[in-house]
Symmetry: C2
Subunit: 511 residues, 2 copies
C-alpha cells in the first residue's frame, strides 16, 4: 500500500468554509428580511401550471454554478411560484409558522445531518426527543405513561396507531401471517366520524383494511361524532360478522375544528375492547391553555394520540408528536432488528426506529426545543390566546353582519362562514325545496367567486370546505406574523368583494 | 365590530427580525466552523444512556429563554451527546453528507415553510420537484416515462411501491374491500433476497401481508439474489395457492452493496406479471458515472425504483427519489380528495399528495436543486469517483495484509472485511468443524472488540454486519469532508488495534 497522502490540490470536497460563511450570512439577511416583509409577496402564488418548470433547463448542469447565480434564480424563477405559508395573510387550511427559533434550530439540524434511527447513532437526538415530548405531554395534561415518539406527519402517526391497534389482537397473528386469504382473520373494522381527516381513509387503505374497513359515523349539528350511532354501528357490525378493533376520534376536525365527545367514545372503546386513537393534530395544541384543556377531556383514556407542533406550536414543518399508552404493542407492530442495526445499548436505551415505519429519522427535537425555550410555555399560551381571541372577534363580526352567516361553531382559531345576502336569509328558511336549491346554488357560486376574488388580491389566502352541502369559507389563524389588523383587513376585503360580487350578479339578473 | 387597530405594544409575534439576524449570523459562523473543524469532536458520541436527558429539566420553562442561553446549552448539553454523521471519520452504515449548498437550501425551505401537498399550495415546489427528479432520472439513465415523486425515506418509498403492486391487481379490490376475511383474496406473496433491507419486511407487515407474505430468496457467494431460486419459489408458491405479486430487487444491499441480477429478475417478473420494485437507495447514485451505469442494468424494465440523494448525493437528510413507471396505479392506490383539498387546478396540475401516504410534504426539491447546480453533474461524478477509488484502495490494503481478510466484493464505496490473524488463515481452511467453530468465535470476538476499540478513538466510526455467520466490519465512504488521509488513518487504526488486541488475547492464552 501507498502511505503517501494525496496531494491536497486534487481533493474535491464540500463548499469551502469561507464560501459557506459568506453565502450563509447573505441568506440569513435574506430570511430576516423575508420574515419581516413577506407581505411584499402575494400570499397565493400568481402563476399557472407549468410556468416554473418551463423556465428551467431540461437537464442538470454539467458544470458548477456559482451561488450568486443560484440565489438569483431562486429569487427570479422560484419565488414567484411560491405560495407563502409564512405570510401574515395566510388563513388557508391550518395556518402554520416557521418561527425564527424554529428555523435556527432546523439550520443546526441540517448541519449536523444525523440519523436518529438508533440511540447510538445520535444519543442526544433520542434523548432530546424524549425530553421535549415529555415537556409537551405535561403542557397538554396527558398522563405520564404516554410514551412519545416524533413522526413526520399526522398521516404517518395515525397509520402507526391503527397498525398498533391491529397488533393489539395478537391471536390473529397479523404481523406474522398477514391478512389476506386467511379464514381465521375476520374483516376488521375501524370507526371515525364523517368529518375525520382523509389520512384515516388513506391509513385504512394502506394497512389493507380497505375503504370498507373504515365505517364513517354521522355527526351532530356541531359536526361531532354521535356516540350513540357509534355504539349502534359497533353492535350491528359485530352481529354481522365484522370485528370492530379501533376508533379514531378527532379533536379539531379539518373542516370545522369540532371536537368529538371523547369521554363517551372512550367509554364505548373500553366496553368493546377497541383501541382508541385521537387525532388532535391541530387542536391538541390548544390544551396548553387551562381554559382550553376541555378539548382533551377523555384523552387520558386513549391508547394513542397525535398532536402536530408544526401546526399551531410554531415549529417549522415537519414535526408530529405521537403518544402511545401501550408502546410495547407499537414496538411489536414494527420492531425489526437486522444484524447491521444491532448495538451494545439495545437493552438499556430506546431505539426509536422500533416505533414507526421509517428507519431514517431527522433530528426534529432540536427545533422544537428551541421553540419551547425561546417562547416559553407562557409565551406560547399568550400567542395561542391572541389567535383564539381574534378568531372569536372575526366570528362575532360575521354573526353581526346581515350579509354573512356562520356555518359552524368556532371553538379555536378557525371560523367557517359564508356570504349570504340579507334578503336571502328569510327566503332560505321559508321557500319551497326546489326554490331553496336555486338560492343555495346562488350562494355556492357567490362564495366560490368570493374566495377567488379575495385570494386574487394577494393580501390574504383562505380555503374552503363543504358543510351540509354548502360551499363554506374557512378563515384559519395560526401564523405568528399575523396581527389583529390582518384579520380586520381580511374581513374588510371579504365584505367589500362580497357586496361587489352580489351586486354585479343582481345587475345581471342572476337573482 | 370595532375597527380600532390593536395597540402595537401588546402584540406578541415571532422573534424580532433583528434578533433573528444577529442569532442567524452567529449560527452561520458556528456551522461554517463546525463543517471545517468537525474533527475536534469525537465522531461517535462518548456518552451513556440517560446522560443528556438527566441534565434537562423535567418541564418546559414557563418564561422565555434568551437565544444566548439556548445556544450555550446546545453546545454544552446537547453537542456532547451527538454522533457526528457530518464528520470526515464517519464510515458507519452509509456515510452521508449535509453539504454546504444543501444546508443553505434547507435554510430557505424552513423559512418558506410551505406544504407541497397540492400544486396550488406551492406551485414552485411541485414544479421544482418535477424538474430535479427529471434531472436525476436523466443522470441515472432511466427512461423518460419514469414518473418521479420525492419522499422522505426509502422505507416509505418501498412501502408505496408494494402498495402500488397490490393495487395493480384491480380484480382483488383491495383498496375498496381490504384484505382480511375475504376468501376471494388469495394470500399474496412478495419476494426479495435474504440480503434485502429490513424496510421491506416492515412494509410487508404494515401493508397486512405479514412476514409470511415476504419470501426471502437465498443469495449467491457474492450476496446477490439467485434468480433460478426465485423462479422456483414463484412456481412452488403458485402451485400451493399463493399469489405472487411483487419482487423487490436490491441495487446495493445494506450489508455488502451487492447488486441483484435485475435483468434476469425483470425477465421473471414479465413472465409472471409481477411488479418489479428496485431498492437502489444507496448504489443507484453510482449510476451517474458511465463506468457504474451497469449497476442499473435492467432497471428500465422496473415498475418502480427508489434512490436516495440523502445517501450518496450530498443532500441533507431527508430526500428519497421515488420513480414509478405506472403512476396511475400509484395514484389509484392513494388518491383521496376531500372537499377541503379540491382546487380549480386539479385537472391540469399534479397534486403530489395523491402519490403517497403523507398529506404534508416539505419543500425538499430546493436543497437538491442547490446541490445539483452548485456541484454540477461533473462535480458530483468526480466526488463519487474519489470515494470509489479510496474504497478500492482500502480493499486492496485489506487484501494485501495477511492479518486481514475481505468478506465481500466491494463494487462501490463500501468495504466488508475483518481482522483474521495470519496464523489462523490456514487453520480455518483445514481444521475439523468444531475446532473451526472455536476459531471463528475467536475472530468474531476479536472483531467486535476491534470495532469498539477503533470507535472509541473518536477519530473514526465504523459499523458491522454478519456475513455467512461471521462478524464483519464495514467501512463506508460517502462524506464530502472525508479525504484519502482519513481513509488511510482508519486503516492504520484498524491494523494497530487489531494487532494489539490479538496480541493481548494470545498473551492471555485465548488462542
Amino acid at each position: 500500500m501507498s502511505d503517501q497522502p494525496m496531494p491536497v490540490e486534487k481533493f474535491l470536497g464540500d463548499m469551502p468554509a469561507e464560501e459557506f460563511r459568506a453565502t450563509g450570512h447573505r441568506l440569513i439577511d435574506w430570511v430576516a428580511d423575508y420574515l419581516e416583509h413577506s407581505e411584499r409577496y402575494p400570499v397565493l402564488a400568481r402563476t399557472t401550471p407549468g410556468a416554473v418548470r418551463r423556465v428551467m433547463p431540461a437537464q442538470a448542469p454539467a458544470e458548477s454554478h456559482p451561488m450568486d447565480v443560484i440565489l438569483r434564480d431562486f429569487e427570479e424563477l422560484v419565488l414567484p411560484g411560491v405560495t407563502h405559508w409564512n405570510h401574515p395573510g395566510f388563513f388557508a387550511y391550518f395556518a402554520i409558522t416557521g418561527s425564527g427559533p424554529g428555523i435556527l434550530g432546523e439550520l443546526l439540524s441540517s448541519a449536523l445531518n444525523i440519523n436518529s434511527m438508533l440511540w447510538k447513532t445520535c444519543p442526544a437526538a433520542s434523548e432530546l426527543e424524549e425530553v421535549v415530548l415529555g415537556w409537551l405531554r405535561e403542557l397538554l395534561g396527558l398522563p405520564e405513561n404516554f410514551f412519545g415518539v416524533v413522526m413526520d406527519t399526522a398521516s404517518v402517526a395515525s397509520l402507526c396507531a391503527i397498525a398498533a391497534a391491529r397488533e393489539a389482537l395478537p391471536e390473529l397473528k397479523i404481523r406474522e401471517e398477514g391478512l389476506p386469504g386467511r379464514a381465521e382473520v375476520p374483516r376488521l373494522r375501524l370507526y371515525a366520524s364523517e368529518q375525520a381527516h382523509s389520512s384515516i381513509d388513506k391509513a385504512a387503505i394502506t394497512l389493507g383494511l380497505g375503504q370498507a374497513g373504515l365505517r364513517k359515523i354521522p355527526v351532530d349539528a356541531e359536526f361531532r361524532l354521535r356516540p350513540e350511532l357509534l355504539a349502534q354501528a359497533i353492535e350491528e357490525d359485530t352481529r354481522s360478522g365484522w370485528k370492530p378493533f379501533c376508533v379514531v376520534a378527532t379533536v379539531g376536525t379539518t373542516s370545522t375544528t369540532s371536537v368529538d365527545p371523547v369521554p363517551a367514545i372512550a367509554e364505548l372503546c373500553a366496553r368493546h375492547n377497541l383501541w382508541l386513537h385521537v387525532d388532535a393534530a391541530y387542536a391538541g395544541a390548544a390544551a396548553i391553555l387551562p381554559e382550553q384543556r376541555w378539548a382533551l377531556a377523555g384523552c387520558e383514556r386513549a391508547d394513542s394520540l397525535v398532536v402536530n407542533p408544526h401546526k399551531w406550536l410554531f415549529t417549522p414543518f415537519d414535526f408530529s408528536a405521537f403518544y402511545c399508552r401501550r408502546p410495547e404493542i407499537l414496538r411489536n407492530a414494527f420492531s425489526l432488528v437486522p444484524e447491521y442495526l444491532r448495538t451494545a445499548e439495545d437493552s438499556e436505551a430506546r431505539n426509536y426506529m422500533d416505533y414507526g415505519i421509517q428507519l431514517g429519522r431527522r433530528f426534529r427535537a432540536l427545533k422544537f426545543w428551541f421553540v419551547l425555550r425561546y417562547f416559553g410555555s407562557d409565551g406560547l399560551r399568550a400567542r395561542l390566546r391572541q389567535h383564539i381571541a381574534w378568531a372569536q372577534e372575526f366570528a362575532a363580526w360575521v354573526d353581526a353582519d346581515p350579509d354573512f352567516e356562520r356555518l359552524a361553531p368556532a371553538p379555536f382559531s378557525v371560523v367557517c362562514f359564508r356570504a349570504r345576502p340579507a334578503e336571502l336569509a328569510e327566503k332560505l328558511q321559508s321557500v319551497a325545496p326546489d326554490e331553496r336549491e336555486k338560492l343555495e346554488a346562488y350562494c355556492d357560486e357567490l362564495n366560490a367567486a368570493l374566495l377567488d376574488a379575495v385570494n386574487a388580491t394577494g393580501e390574504i389566502y383562505l380555503s374552503h370546505t363543504k358543510l351540509n352541502g354548502k360551499f363554506t369559507l374557512r378563515l384559519a389563524i395560526g401564523n405568528l406574523h399575523t396581527t389583529r389588523n390582518h384579520v380586520l383587513r381580511a374581513w374588510r376585503l371579504l365584505r367589500e368583494h362580497a357586496r361587489r360580487l352580489d351586486s354585479d350578479r343582481r345587475s345581471a339578473g342572476w337573482r
